[in-house]
């Protein structure tokens, strides 16, 4: 009798304890990401280590980053947010923040200091492009080309304007089916200075100028809409050169051994990172905050670069990146001789307008 009573009391105690901790932090977390190699780099670099430290937590992945903005908006309208942490590109983060769908946060409160002691806000610096955005990595959109299709007696393409030079480098090109990046490259190759590109692009004349430049290669362009398209087109020999994310090219070159070369000139930096959806309940928010503190610290971001050729968003992580990966990083000095930073503010304003013109031009 006594034994049973003690046991019961013990169980009850354990249960209350369990309930108490569950109230502090939820034990389930839904993380939204892109799937594929990128998601597995996240899994290995910090999700698995975090789960080892917190075996009570279970993580559900949702590979919906592609349409995260639309889905979050729909969830918000339905009043039922089921995601805890969403991986999005910077432009989407800005829009989510504008829409009030992402939570604003204080970097120095939510994120760990750099291991060299710099505050989080300094460590991430300008890469925090929105009050809601927790950047993780820097990637770039750049060009790859078939080394075996370079005409004889001609150097391999090394300048962004080689994309527009059909005489020297005949063959098809793969470009993304949207104005972003293409318009900038076109202006750069039409004689506009790098720091004036967005000023020119803000004017209708500048937009016309960019489209006119693109017109010169329009017949030789295959337009892609999924990041996997260009690597496939390159592998099939359908195109001579094409733009895509540098990590995709890395795997075509290093993992699939295709005769493809990188052309880093005028690569456009972009960011990928987390947002926390607005309207999480306290328990889930506490869990997410705990996870974020861990997952974005100096070591974890450097670890991620082991698995994918994207640069960590923290300055303090850079020295920790393994030597053999450094040469594939878009941020490596050898690759970053001529780079271009995607202007989020500009595109947030001009996207609808220029997209209408771009689509209309495309359809002609």
């Amino acid at each position: 009798m006594k034994l049973t009573k003690t046991l019961l009391a013990g169980t009850a105690l354990a249960m209350t304890a369990g309930v108490a901790s569950a109230q502090d932090m939820a034990n389930d977390m839904t993380i939204v990401s892109w799937g594929g190699a990128y998601q597995s780099s996240q899994l290995k670099a910090y999700v698995e280590p975090y789960l080892e430290m917190h075996p009570e937590v279970s993580v559900t992945w949702d590979e919906s980053s592609n349409e995260a903005v639309a889905k979050l908006r729909a969830m918000n309208e339905a009043g039922n947010i089921t995601w805890d942490l969403v991986d999005v590109v910077a432009a989407d983060a800005i829009r989510l923040c504008d829409e009030g769908l992402a939570m604003e946060y204080d970097p120095d409160e939510l994120l760990a200091e750099g291991d060299d002691g710099t505050s989080a806000s300094d460590d991430f610096g300008d890469l925090i492009v929105s009050d809601c955005y927790i950047p993780q990595i820097v990637y770039s959109t750049t060009f790859g080309y078939r080394t075996d299709m370079v005409p004889e007696g001609v150097d391999a393409p090394s300048n962004i304007c080689d994309v527009f030079d059909l005489e020297k480098y005949p063959g098809k090109r793969a470009l993304e089916k949207r104005p972003i990046n293409n318009m900038e490259w076109a202006l750069l190759c039409d004689g506009v200075a790098k720091d004036e590109v967005y000023d020119v692009l803000a004017t209708p004349e500048g937009q016309e100028q960019a489209l006119a430049k693109l017109d010169t290669i329009k017949d030789d362009v295959i337009w892609w809409s999924a990041g996997a398209d260009t690597p496939q087109l390159l592998a099939d020999g359908e195109v001579f050169m094409g733009s895509t994310y540098n990590g995709r090219l890395y795997s075509v070159i290093e993992e699939q051994d295709q005769p493809v070369g990188m052309m880093w000139d005028a690569q456009v930096y972009d960011l990928d990172g987390w947002i926390i959806p607005e309207g999480l309940d306290e328990a889930h928010l506490a869990r997410v905050k705990d996870f974020i503190m861990f997952a974005t610290d100096t070591q974890r971001l450097a670890d991620q670069a082991k698995y994918i050729s994207y640069g960590p968003a923290r300055a303090s992580s850079a020295p920790l990146v393994p030597e053999e990966m450094k040469q594939h990083m878009p941020t490596d000095p050898a690759n970053a001789e001529n780079t271009f930073l995607y202007n989020y503010e500009f595109w947030a304003d001009y996207r609808d307008d220029i997209d209408a013109k771009f689509q209309s031009w495309l359809a002609q």
Binding site: V69, A70, W223, S225, D236, D349, D353
Partner: protein, 569 residues
């Protein structure tokens, strides 16, 4: 007398009454109720039971089909975000004439300041910026950046006020000042609560814990409005106690603006001295006009065209989305065509209809012989063929579409074979994908079963004796087919065509993958606006037009062919 003897005559009387009623009045049922009523009751019970049986389906269809469509149609005209977010501004703008080429008056900017301040606290201003950016490029960042700078002007005023009295920054001081004494005016707070509720879309019920006195509300109307905004937000959104929180910066802006006009000499309420001191110090405080404040935040705020856009889109409902969807736009000067280099939708609608017709046509051409074979082969081989027809159904759409890529691309299977056969030289391989041809091929393949199945089920019901009869009557094989078999299979063609056409009109995955630039459909743009640009209003308008197109075509089909002639089996 016993009971039994008594009931006898009464019964008889009743039946006699029944007899007469039968002759004169309505027919009666056995229990005396009119026959019609009891019949109705019996039928009603049946109807209710039938309704209960289909109720789950009915509810399902209503919830998952009718309601979303209605919601979509509503979104395509809904525009209350402008007037909900900037209620006083849009009202004040009514008196402004955009043709003067001048920005609105200071009064409008003042209303705008307080509207925008509340909106930015509620994080609604960037939504409005996004909405207005669809109509006027650049507005989005104006709202976003100005939203961040709204505190500056109030902070400056607070510094100046605190020089007259340290307590101007304190929450309890302000609470005492604003609450005042005497009769209170809770309607001011209530009005602000309603405004905030409309803006945020939440109901915001509960006790604010603040009501200004009548006298202070008359004396300092703008301040009281700003403070009420603060009080409502603090109490109902943040869940804090109003008296304990420091007021928003907008309250100081309101106070400085009010003090200019207000005569505070006779005021005797709480903290009247501080108020008088502030009034006295007013000439020493540097005042900034709100117009110039906004101009310094972004020069475009004094651009009349920005205000004209806000004015044009202040009504709760707008035709703007629909106009956009047909390459027009609603401008302050009326409805105009979009510039030619932005026109795309009408072309896409035409292309979608044209390509859907092509796909339907090629489905008929390819599907008809297959369906005929299916209907006429012995069942063993027909079953095998049927499996082949259905096989694509069991394969993922993406896989099938990607397979076409492999087949049709320039380094693809078909081109390789043609080059190997020597039909095409290696230099000019055929371009069969990323254009209309690729889209038509891939979609014909994907939609073919939807043509074959109804055709097959109709053909199955056509007995072979008709063909034999025709031949025995002297018709050649062709005549027998064309005059006798074909007309009877037309209902199958009709059903298949409607299915294929309607499905293809709404397809977007396949055109996206294999369509290139010339093979994309209007649905690709709808998908873009729903998932990428988030311009759901425009997406909804495009969808509504597409729906209307389908309904019109359906109606035309019914008039020409007759919908009774459509058979699925």
């Amino acid at each position: 007398m016993s009971d039994t003897t008594q009931t006898g005559p009464i019964d008889m009387g009743n039946s006699a009454a029944n007899d007469t009623a039968e002759k004169k009045g309505p027919m009666l049922a056995a229990d005396g109720t009119p026959l019609k009523r009891s019949l109705n009751r019996a039928l009603r019970r049946q109807k209710l039971r039938a309704l209960a049986l289909i109720a789950p389906l009915l509810i399902f269809v209503l919830l998952t089909f009718i309601a979303p469509i209605a919601d979509m149609l509503f979104r395509s005209v809904e525009n209350d975000i402008v007037s909900n977010t900037l209620p006083t501004t849009t009202e004040a703008l009514e008196g402004w004439d955009h043709t003067t080429g001048e920005p609105p008056s200071e009064a409008v900017f003042e209303d705008f300041y307080f509207d925008l301040f509340l909106a930015s606290e509620a994080k609604e201003h960037t939504k409005l910026g996004t909405r207005l950016n669809y109509e006027k490029t650049g507005v989005s960042s104006m709202f976003r950046s100005t939203g961040r700078g709204l505190d500056d002007i109030g902070d400056d005023y607070l510094d100046a006020l605190e020089e007259t009295d340290e307590r101007w920054g304190d929450g309890d001081f302000w609470y005492a000042l604003m609450s005042g004494t005497g009769t209170s005016a809770p309607e001011v707070v209530e009005a602000r609560r309603k405004a905030l509720a409309r803006m945020s879309g939440d109901s915001l019920s509960g006790d604010v814990g603040f009501a200004p006195s009548n006298s202070i509300a008359t004396l300092l109307p703008t301040t009281v409005r700003a403070y009420s905004d603060f009080a409502v937000y603090t109490a109902l959104v943040d869940g804090d106690v109003v008296a304990e929180e420091d007021p928003w910066e907008s309250v100081y802006v309101g106070l400085i603006s009010d003090l200019e006009e207000a005569n505070v000499d006779g005021y005797t309420g709480p903290e009247a001295d501080a108020l008088k001191a502030a009034k006295a110090a007013l000439p020493g405080i540097e005042q900034v006009s709100l117009k110039s404040f906004f101009q310094s935040e972004d020069k475009d705020w004094v651009d009349p065209s920005v205000w004209a856009t806000i004015q044009t889109y202040s009504p709760k409902y707008t035709s703007g989305y629909f106009l956009n969807a047909i390459d027009m736009q609603l401008t302050p000067d009326g409805i105009e065509m979009r510039p030619e280099n932005q026109q795309i939708y009408i072309m896409l609608f035409k292309r979608t209809l044209f390509m859907s017709m092509m796909i339907m046509g090629s489905c008929i051409l390819l599907g008809y012989p297959v369906a005929w074979l299916l209907a006429n082969l012995p069942s063993k081989s027909a079953n095998l063929l049927m499996i082949l027809v259905l096989l694509p159904f069991w394969t993922s759409l993406l896989v099938r579409t990607s397979a076409w890529k492999v087949m049709l691309q320039q380094q693809g299977v078909i081109n390789d074979v043609l080059v190997w056969l020597g039909l095409v030289s290696d230099g000019d391989r055929l371009v069969m994908i990323n254009n209309q041809f690729g889209t038509i091929v891939a979609m014909t393949h994907i939609l073919l079963p939807f043509m074959i199945l109804p055709l097959y089920s109709v053909m199955q019901t056509i007995p072979p004796t008709y063909l034999r009869a025709a031949k025995s009557l002297g018709a050649t094989n062709w005549t027998a087919f064309w005059r006798v078999y074909f007309p009877q299979s037309v209902p199958g063609i009709g059903a298949g065509s409607i299915l294929v056409f309607i499905l293809s009109i709404g397809y977007y995955i396949t055109p996206e993958i294999v369509g290139g630039t010339t093979g994309t459909f209007i649905s690709n743009r709808i998908a873009y606006h729903i998932s990428s640009s988030l311009n759901w209003g425009l997406g909804a308008a495009l969808g509504a037009i597409l729906l209307a197109c389908v309904l019109i075509l359906y109606w035309a089909y019914d008039r020409i062919v007759g919908i009774d002639n459509v058979k699925l089996g």
